[in-house]
Each structure stands twice: as structure tokens, then as C-alpha cells.
């Protein structure tokens, strides 16, 4: 192998995938804010951003440029070091979570490439644990921001947020363990492949319950409505990032949107069959004769990665929809809901799955 070959090899296997994934994250972090504003606006019979470009399509870019020119204010009483570190830590963790996520099976892009390339940067054996580990470290960004600001609203917001995040991590973990039990692996690509016959959401009776548990915990983990107490404007101003301005403020938003995408990706991968196409009818139905095979064949025409992204954007739309529809919970209700309802329910789901596997029913 010549030096040029090696350089090309590294470029194809590392630099291009890294650039593509990073671009994907940035585009999503920016344009999710646009999507949120537009969807919310239309649900409330408004138009949303309309001035910058066609239907305000350039709004995120305008917002970004504006934030670059904003003064960076660090309060005199703040702990400057931690104040600067918190948003950076949060952003790094939410960006790094994407590395282990598989976006589709190996593909040659309809013959454009000479050999098949995987649509993931790295396929870790402990993929799901890796994402969970980074998410749990992200909690520090929140609580440090609150503490370092030396502001009463920030501190209370940071504490509330951290307590909420750790409380919902437990039912989330148990829901994930239910999936691991069904798939027999911690590897995200293997979990998707285990759903080629049947998505885990329709594995009765535990699938739908585990799915809802994970979805609810996921919304709570990202501090979104109706669990957006840390940012309860009416009582806590902007919660843990009250004192942040300019680019540092932007980092919190980018991290929040990146986390939403990660949660949506995980819901799709763990429960909605990842990149598997929708199967209206089982393949074996009517002996796989037409029209069953036609319908299923039609769905296969769409590339797997688009199936995954379709599910992801539907879930993101759903998160925004929740915000437009549901009122905010009270903090004691929120904590009781996790510890007294979700925790026992998730444990029961897990044990039911284990019993059914033992009896050979799953």
C-alpha cells in the first residue's frame, strides 16, 4: 500500500464520516430551534419567524450571528472558572454521544462506492451504556452552571434540574434493561437487528410499557415540557442559565437540542426498529404472496437511514407538540411520579419480561 492509499483510506474511514456526523449535529442543533418555533407558532395559530429569508428559513443563522456580537457578561460574584467550564462540558457530552449511534446498515450508496461502508463512526459493544454514561456526566454541566452563577434562581434551578435528571435516570435504565433482555446485547446495531422481525414496541405485553417509560423519562431527562421545571420562567427566570449571555447561552441551547436528537435516536433504535422499514403485515402472512410482498417491498425502497431519520423527526415533532399541549407539572408531583409510579412500573416490566423469557413466551 502506498502512502497515498493510506491517506485516502484514513480520509474515507475517518475524516469524511467525522465531518458528516459533525455537520449533521450542528445542522440539527441550529434548525431544531427553527422547527420548534415554527411548529409551536402554527399550533398557536401564529406564523412564527417570517422575516429572514423564505418563511424565516435563515432565522437560526441570523440568531447565531447575533449571539456572536453579544457581550459576554460574567457576574462579578460568579465562580469564573466553573462558570466558563459548565456550558463547555455540557456541549462536549451531548456532541460526543452521537459517536456510538448507528444510522443504518453498511451500504455502498447504490453502487457509488466500490465497497460497503458502515453508517456509524464506531460500533461499541457497550454502545447503549456509553451514551448513558455521557448523559449522566452532562448533569454536572447543569448543576455547575447553577452553582457557579451565585444566583438564587440559578442555584435552585440547577439543583432541581439535577435532582430531576437523576430521578428519571432510574426508570430509564430499567426500560433499557428490558430492551437488553429482549435483544441479548448492549450493542446498538445488534439491538436494531434483533428487531428485523418485530419491533420491540409491539412485543406484547412489555414492549409498549417499556417504550412509554423510556419516552417519558427521555422527555424529563432533556428538561422539556411538561417537565421543564428547572426553566419555569414564572418562578425561576431561566433556571440554571439565568446569568448566561451570548455564546455561552447559545451553548446551553445547542446542547439541549443535541440531547433531544440523541433521545429521539435512542427511542427509534431501542423500540421503533431503528432503520427497519414499517411492516404493516408480517412477511409470512398469506405465505408471503402478493399483495403482502408488494406492500412490504414498496416500503423497502426507501433507504434504511431515511427510515431512521423519519422516525427521529416524527419524535422531535412529538416533543414540540407536547410543549404546545401540556401544562407544566408541579415539582413535588414530578418527583413523586418518578419515584412512586415509574420506578415500580419499570421494575415490574423488567421482571415480567424475565419471567416470559424463562417460560419461552418471548
Amino acid at each position: 500500500m502506498t502512502v497515498m492509499d493510506q491517506v485516502a483510506n484514513i480520509a474515507y474511514s475517518l475524516i469524511i464520516p467525522v465531518a458528516v456526523l459533525f455537520g449533521f449535529i450542528m445542522l440539527n442543533a441550529a434548525y431544531l430551534s427553527y422547527m420548534e418555533r415554527k411548529v409551536l407558532a402554527h399550533m398557536q395559530a401564529r406564523m412564527g419567524p417570517m422575516m429572514t429569508g423564505w418563511h424565516g428559513i435563515l432565522q437560526p443563522i441570523a440568531d447565531g450571528v447575533k449571539l456572536f456580537f453579544k457581550e459576554d457578561i460574567i457576574p462579578a460574584k460568579a465562580d469564573k472558572w466553573l462558570f466558563s467550564l459548565a456550558p463547555v462540558l455540557l456541549l462536549i457530552m451531548s456532541i460526543a454521544a452521537f459517536v456510538a449511534i448507528p444510522f443504518g446498515p453498511p451500504t455502498d450508496f447504490y453502487g457509488i462506492l466500490s465497497n460497503k461502508v458502515p453508517l456509524w463512526l464506531t460500533n461499541l459493544n457497550v454502545g447503549i451504556l456509553y451514551v448513558l454514561a455521557l448523559a449522566s456526566v452532562g448533569t454536572y454541566g447543569v448543576i455547575m452552571a447553577g452553582w457557579a452563577s451565585n444566583n438564587k434562581y440559578s442555584l435552585l434551578g440547577g439543583f432541581r434540574s439535577a435532582a430531576q435528571m437523576i430521578s428519571y435516570e432510574i426508570p430509564m435504565a430499567f426500560a433499557i434493561i428490558t430492551v437488553v433482555l429482549l435483544a441479548g446485547s448492549l450493542n446498538l446495531a445488534e439491538i436494531v437487528n434483533a428487531q428485523s422481525e418485530k419491533w420491540f414496541i409491539i412485543v406484547l405485553p412489555v414492549g409498549p410499557v417499556a417504550f412509554l417509560l423510556y419516552l417519558i423519562s427521555g422527555v424529563a431527562e432533556t428538561n422539556r415540557a411538561p417537565f421543564d421545571l428547572p426553566e419555569a420562567e414564572t418562578e425561576l427566570v431561566a433556571g440554571f442559565f439565568t446569568e448566561y449571555t451570548g455564546m455561552r447561552f447559545a451553548m446551553f441551547f445547542m446542547a439541549e437540542y443535541a440531547n433531544m436528537v440523541v433521545i429521539s435516536l435512542l427511542v427509534s433504535i431501542l423500540f421503533l426498529g431503528g432503520w427497519m422499514p414499517v411492516q404493516i403485515l408480517p412477511n409470512t402472512w398469506l405465505g408471503g404472496m402478493p399483495p403482502v410482498s408488494w406492500i412490504n417491498g414498496l416500503f423497502r425502497l426507501m433507504p434504511p437511514v431515511l427510515w431512521l431519520l423519519g422516525k427521529v423527526y416524527f419524535l422531535l415533532f412529538f416533543f414540540i407538540w407536547l410543549r404546545a399541549t401540556l401544562p407544566r407539572l408541579r415539582y413535588d408531583q414530578l418527583m413523586a411520579f418518578s419515584w412512586k409510579f415509574l420506578l415500580p412500573l419499570s421494575l415490574a416490566t423488567l421482571l415480567t419480561t424475565a419471567v416470559m423469557k424463562q417460560m419461552g413466551l418471548l
Partner: protein, 168 residues
């Protein structure tokens, strides 16, 4: 060579952040260095092909235990801590114990050998989680069940302490 370099990087940062952790005046800053420490320990686990333990290192130590520390430290009045004298009156005793334990570790490293059960060696079995599961739930059954009792003690103790404080 490259591997050795990576290992030395992890080892150096682990030692450095450990020293910084115990010398910071502000206990919240100490927690930040501890987080850095845990991250690099996870890195060493990755180098040893123990991916599962690396993830557990972050989930349990960084994600749970250190959060608990952070809550406790933030509940303290940090500014008061900063003003107080750094040297505890028992410090010569503490230093003595520290040196004693460090000496024992060095002695063990110099004289001892570490028998490795090849059957259970993480490097042999690779993947980690499954091999660990099989070993933990067949061979090491009793320690595993005892762990639950220890956790139960921790849970009951925390509830009792907290309830006492709330009533007052």
C-alpha cells in the same frame, strides 16, 4: 510505543488531578478534578479491553457517587470552608497513615505477583458484559447477593439520617 504513550498520558493526568483534587481550597473545584480523574480511569479501562467496566466507571462513580458528593459539598457553606484553616490538628497522623498505606502498595508491587485466572481474564473474553454476567451469576453468587444487603444498609441509613434532620 503509541500505546505506552497513551497509557502514560492517562497515568499522568490521573496523578495530577488526584493531587489537584486534594489541594484545592474550594471543595466544588475538588469535585471537578475528581470528575477529570474518573474520566481518565475509564480511559485506562478502555486500554485494558474492559469497555463494560469503563462505562460502569463513568455511570456509577462519575454519574452517581460524585453527584452525591457534589450535593453534599454544595450543601456545605463553601465560603466558610475557604476561610477556615487548612491544616486539621490531626494532620501529622493523617500524613503518617497516608505514607504507611502508600509504602504498603509499593511493597506489594515490588514483591507480589498477581495471579490471573485466564478463564475470567477480561482480555481473554473480550466483550466483557456477557462474560462478567456469567461469572457473576454462577461462580460469584454469594458476593453478589451480599452486595444487595450492603446496598440495603446504605438505603436504610440514608433514610434514617435524613428523617431525623427533617423532623428537627
Amino acid at each position: 510505543m503509541l500505546l505506552k504513550g497513551i497509557f502514560l498520558y492517562f497515568a499522568a493526568v490521573i496523578l495530577l488531578s488526584a493531587v489537584l483534587m486534594i489541594t484545592r481550597r474550594n471543595p466544588v473545584h475538588s469535585v471537578v478534578y475528581m470528575l477529570l480523574l474518573f474520566f481518565h480511569i475509564a480511559g485506562v479501562f478502555v486500554l485494558l479491553n474492559a469497555e463494560f467496566l469503563a462505562a460502569v466507571q463513568l455511570i456509577v462513580y462519575a454519574g452517581a457517587i460524585l453527584i452525591l458528593y457534589l450535593f453534599v459539598v454544595m450543601l456545605l457553606n463553601v465560603d466558610k470552608e475557604k476561610l477556615g484553616s487548612r491544616a486539621h490538628r490531626f494532620w501529622p497522623w493523617m500524613a503518617g497513615f497516608g505514607i504507611l498505606i502508600a509504602g504498603e502498595v509499593v511493597l506489594l508491587l515490588l514483591r507480589g505477583s498477581f495471579p490471573v485466572n485466564p478463564e475470567l481474564s477480561v482480555q481473554q473474553t473480550g466483550a466483557g458484559a456477557e462474560a462478567l454476567g456469567i461469572a457473576l451469576y454462577t461462580r460469584y453468587l454469594i458476593p453478589f447477593e451480599i452486595a444487595s444487603v450492603i446496598l440495603l444498609v446504605g438505603l436504610v441509613g440514608a433514610v434514617m439520617l435524613a428523617k431525623k434532620t427533617i423532623k428537627e
